[in-house]
């Protein structure tokens, strides 16, 4: 693996790393001053486009391209939403950035707003991050006081207001348009597209929604240039014309059954086994790994013999996973029951489905009921086929839902059963020897609330 310098995490070990003075002492807001004085929004947009930066929130959409979709012919302001509703299980890279280096995030946010000509920005912060809330608000106050934010910033023509908005604890608010609806004070039901947020977003105005880590990257691209950014990561796959490549540094969240869990910075394209063994110190307690989640639970599963998978935007797809996601790797050791894993996953998605589209609302609830019954020792072989059918038919990829939550719910089901089929069948045979091949309907299982 490459041993590049730390960029995104460069400051976090300094004492009082969240303070403005510490950040300024390490060269903070110098880029913001320079860009305001010397550069135009279009130049920054072109720079980001040239860098090949792709969104760090999960989908990996090219950031510069997203910005270029903004409708400029509309009256009224352009809004910028910073998606800090980091709720994907296993993911905490945004949290580290916001708690330990909030000014890096804010400088990236200011630069991104400048580039998109946004005049108002909202930080949509996950409710469960109280420290990040306090530190971001303190950082914003310090920026207003220092003149980095507000009207006619640093004597320039540009004005920007930033509001810190706290969510109420729903996973769906991390979805771009769910976030916008929630920000508007509505139920976070993702919107149908078109119109896309770049044309009609928050309060029916053109809106950009970007992830915290994405804007942090923008800050470094503005400082070091696009060539520096493109020098890290994985170039486009020549055999795939639709792959724009995966460039730049990335924060990897490593958790689960590893010796040294934590947030590690490395260029995109780090292999899973490199991350676990070299950065994370290997599987804990001397055990062997059974599987790993490549990028948050919704991306699916990698078997331990698939750990050569590179963590970039293209490689996980080749292993049957949904994508890179948030690059949050959760290691499962050999003692973990995949049935329990899937039960847990189904519980999460049944709880978090917003309930708008029928296939997701009913599919997540039904898969949970099936798993509950399997775990209660009344599973049948054909339940696995049913689960796979539910998994294969919900989501935006088959076209049956509005947003990607259902895909995220489907992938753990599909990967767990397809990659660990034998374990599921053994479990069914062991727990329900009489009925595991039964074709007859079974009595329904009462959930606790109904019993």
């Amino acid at each position: 693996m490459s041993t590049s310098e730390r960029v995104l995490l460069a400051n976090i070990e300094r004492p009082e790393s969240h303070a403005l003075s510490t950040y300024e002492g390490a060269g903070g807001y110098r880029t913001w001053r320079r860009v305001l004085a010397e550069q135009s929004p279009q130049e920054i947009q072109d720079l980001v486009k040239a860098s090949g930066l792709r969104g760090r929130g999960g989908a990996g959409f090219p950031t510069g391209l997203k910005w270029s979709f903004l409708a400029t012919d509309r009256p009224g302001p352009i809004y910028f939403c910073l998606n800090a509703d980091e709720s994907e299980p296993g993911t905490f890279n945004n949290r580290i950035l916001m708690e330990l280096d909030p000014h890096q995030v804010l400088e990236g946010l200011f630069l991104s707003c400048f580039a998109t000509r946004a005049s108002i920005a909202y930080i949509y912060l996950r409710y469960e991050y109280p420290l990040a809330y306090v530190r971001l608000q303190a950082a914003l106050d310090a920026c207003y006081a220092a003149g980095y934010l507000g009207r006619h910033i640093l004597g320039s023509e540009y004005s920007l207001e930033v509001y810190l908005h706290r969510g109420a604890g729903a996973y769906i608010c991390g979805e771009e348009t769910g976030l916008i609806e929630s920000l508007e004070g509505k139920r976070a039901w993702p919107r149908i597209k078109p119109p896309f947020p770049a044309v009609e977003g928050a309060f029916r105005r053109p809106t950009v929604v970007n992830n915290v880590e994405t804007v942090a990257c923008v800050r470094h691209i503005c400082e070091r240039g696009s060539e520096w950014f493109r020098s890290q990561g994985v170039p486009p796959d020549p055999s795939n014309p639709r792959d724009p490549g995966s460039f730049g540094p990335k924060l990897y969240c490593l958790s689960g059954h590893v010796a040294r869990p934590g947030c590690y910075e490395a260029p995109l394209g780090l292999r899973v086994d490199e991350l676990i063994d070299e950065l994370g110190g290997g599987v804990w307690q001397g055990r062997r790994a059974k599987a790993a989640i490549p990028g948050g639970i919704s991306m699916g599963l990698l078997r331990s013999d698939e750990f050569s998978c590179r963590l970039d935007f293209a490689d996980p797809l080749k292993y049957g996973c949904l994508g890179l996601g948030t690059a949050a790797v959760v290691v499962l050791d050999e003692t973990v029951s995949m049935v329990d894993f899937l039960h847990n996953s189904c519980q999460f998605f049944a709880h978090e489905s917003c309930g708008q589209c029928t296939p997701c609302r009913e599919g997540t609830a039904w898969s949970l009921r099936l798993l509950e019954r399997i775990c209660a020792g009344r599973g049948r072989l054909k339940d696995l086929e049913l689960l796979l059918e539910i998994g294969d038919t919900m989501g935006i990829l088959p076209g049956t839902t509005i947003c990607g939550l259902a895909d995220g719910a489907a992938w753990p089901i599909k990967n767990a059963i397809r990659k660990f089929r034998g374990e599921f069948e053994d479990y069914l045979r062991r727990t329900n020897p009489e009925g595991y091949r039964a074709e007859q309907p079974v009595w329904a299982l009462l959930s606790e609330s109904e019993a």
Partner: protein, 536 residues
């Protein structure tokens, strides 16, 4: 001008026409099942029942490129060159799965559900459902709660299409209804202390594609397959909503709006919806009576018609008061008859009840302040046949001391007893008073002749609404035994042969009176705009 293809059928789209896949398919008779989409509400594309495959046809080569995944037809514009496939294996399977999902927690209590028989969940299950139930979830609960005075929610039957929520937000803009909880625990609810209470609340029951919302007035009164639906027109106000009268054995059970883009779109107001009760009021007049000494005595219709005709031919000055509840045909026949017995008979437009001000809703639906269906039509008949235009107030103003008439025929049909002392005073001076109305009132007490009238659903004929749109309808129920309809009575008085036929009379009216000249037979279901001919 453009073309889209639905299952190989070409559908022509006119310039400026904005259709979605469901509407384009309907043009060639292909029904794409859907729950959440409604032409009068915003598109949410959430039920996913209308999933289809789509693609584009290259205009040069005719080659079709498919998108490769399912899309909701409601959200997909039928733009030139769009191809829809609604019968592929993928579409059929997707529909079956959505239907299966919706039935997972549905109680399937059809035997006690009011919607059974007209329920989309039922219909689509037969048309698109899985052959057998694979789910092991048995719904146990049958929770219900009132959302307001008009509507009850059956929580477990709901499929979360959110039509009712959108209606209250987008049309009435009162926003009483909302969705609470998340995922499979979602429910429709009102905020505590703010029940569903708006002038159009009953429409959410029509909008509900399943049995989740029950009309408290209709609940458990009748199975829908026992009822016959008759196209009719609401007589509640001058808007003249197109409606269905749903009846069984001459007993009305409910009124429903009938889609009419020119009048009421898809809606009707609660006042109109529940405003049919007077037709079954036991206090209604149900037989003709004539004065004999101090009191009024029953008389057979044959005898009544003969004697009435004879009496009227002896009076010198006759005034006929035509209420705005009469149809065009009825008022025309009565006016014609009056002119026949007395060539200079005075024709007066009866009192026009008004209440409040016009109430407009988003999308153009209006509840009119004028609480009668046919002021425009009756006034036009009077204008054409009378020597001079007279309305009720002008006629009353002329009365004191003049007494230049000696017979008055009050052709009422008001849905409430008529209480007006001025009317009574004016009529008291006449030698011969004929009162035809639905209910007994001081006027009927004073009358020398008391004739029963028919209620709106018992009439056949045409109304002209506030925008000069004429809508025709046939009777939906028969009047109570003993009541001869106005049209039949006037027809007989005129000495015409056979039965009263509203359609034939309308043709006569159209040929005689310019105002009605656009009302050619057959009048289409959405009515005809009389202003077209007036302008030309």
């Amino acid at each position: 001008m453009g073309s889209v293809w639905v299952d190989g059928h070409e559908v022509e789209i006119r310039d400026g026409e904005r259709l979605n896949g469901i509407q384009a398919a309907a043009r060639v008779g292909i029904d794409i099942p859907h729950y959440c989409w409604h032409p009068g509400l915003s598109v949410v594309a959430s039920c996913r029942m209308c999933l289809v495959e789509t693609g584009r046809r290259n205009p040069a080569t005719g080659e079709v490129t498919m998108l490769g995944k399912l899309v909701p037809a409601c959200q997909t514009p039928a733009a030139d060159g769009t191809v829809f496939v609604t019968n592929s294996v993928a579409v059929v399977e997707a529909r079956a799965r959505v239907e299966e999902g919706l039935l997972l927690r549905h109680p399937v209590d059809c035997p006690i559900c009011d919607k059974a028989g007209e329920c989309r969940l039922q219909d689509y299950f037969y048309q698109h459902g899985q052959p057998e139930r694979r789910a092991d979830i048995q719904p146990f609960t049958s929770r219900r709660r009132a959302l307001g005075d008009t509507v009850t929610l059956f929580v477990d039957r709901c499929v979360m299409c959110s039509r009712c929520v959108r209606f209250c937000r987008e049309v009435t803009q009162t926003s009483e209804l909302m969705v609470i909880n998340r995922g499979a625990h979602e429910e429709i609810e009102v905020f505590p202390g703010f029940p569903l209470s708006n002038p159009l609340s009953g429409n959410v029951v029509d909008l509900c594609p399943v049995g989740a919302l029950g009309d408290r007035d209709f609940l458990y009164n009748q199975r829908v397959w026992f009822m016959r639906s008759h196209e009719h027109v609401c007589a509640g106000c001058a808007t003249g909503c197109s409606i269905f009268v749903d009846e069984n054995q001459d007993r009305i059970y409910r009124l429903r709006p009938r889609e009419n883009p020119y009048v009421n779109q898809w809606w009707m107001c609660d006042a109109g919806r529940y405003g049919w009760k007077h037709a079954f009021d036991p206090q209604r007049l149900i037989e003709p009576r004539m004065r004999r000494g101090e009191g009024l005595a029953s008389i057979e219709w044959e005898e009544a018609i003969r004697q009435l005709d004879a009496a009227l031919r002896q009076v010198e000055r006759l005034t006929v008061i035509l209420s705005p509840f009469l149809t065009v045909e009825e008022s025309y026949l009565l006016a014609t008859y009056a002119r026949q017995v007395q060539p200079h008979a005075t024709l007066v437009l009866g009192p026009v009840p008004e209440q409040g001000e016009d109430q407009s809703f988003a999308g153009g639906f209006v509840i009119a302040a004028e609480k009668c269906p046919n002021r425009r039509g009756v006034a036009a008949v009077i204008a054409a046949l009378a020597d001079r235009d007279l309305n009720w107030d002008a006629w009353l103003a002329e009365q004191p001391g003049r007494g230049n008439w000696d017979a008055v025929w009050w052709a009422g049909g008001y849905p409430r007893p008529w209480q007006d002392s001025r009317a009574l005073q004016a009529l008291a001076q006449a030698k011969l008073v004929i009162v035809q109305d639905l209910f007994a009132s001081p006027l009927t007490e004073r009358a020398d002749w008391q004739l029963p009238a028919t209620a709106f659903a018992e009439r056949a004929g045409s109304y002209v609404n506030r925008d000069d749109r004429l809508q025709s309808f046939a009777w939906a129920i028969r009047p109570p035994r003993g009541v001869l309809s106005e049209g039949q009575l006037y027809w007989r008085l005129l000495g015409r042969e056979g039965m009263y036929q509203a359609r034939a009379v309308l043709a006569e009216v159209a040929s005689q009176i310019v105002f009605f000249s656009a009302a050619h037979e057959p009048v289409p279901a959405e009515g005809v705009d009389l202003r077209i001919k007036q302008l030309s």
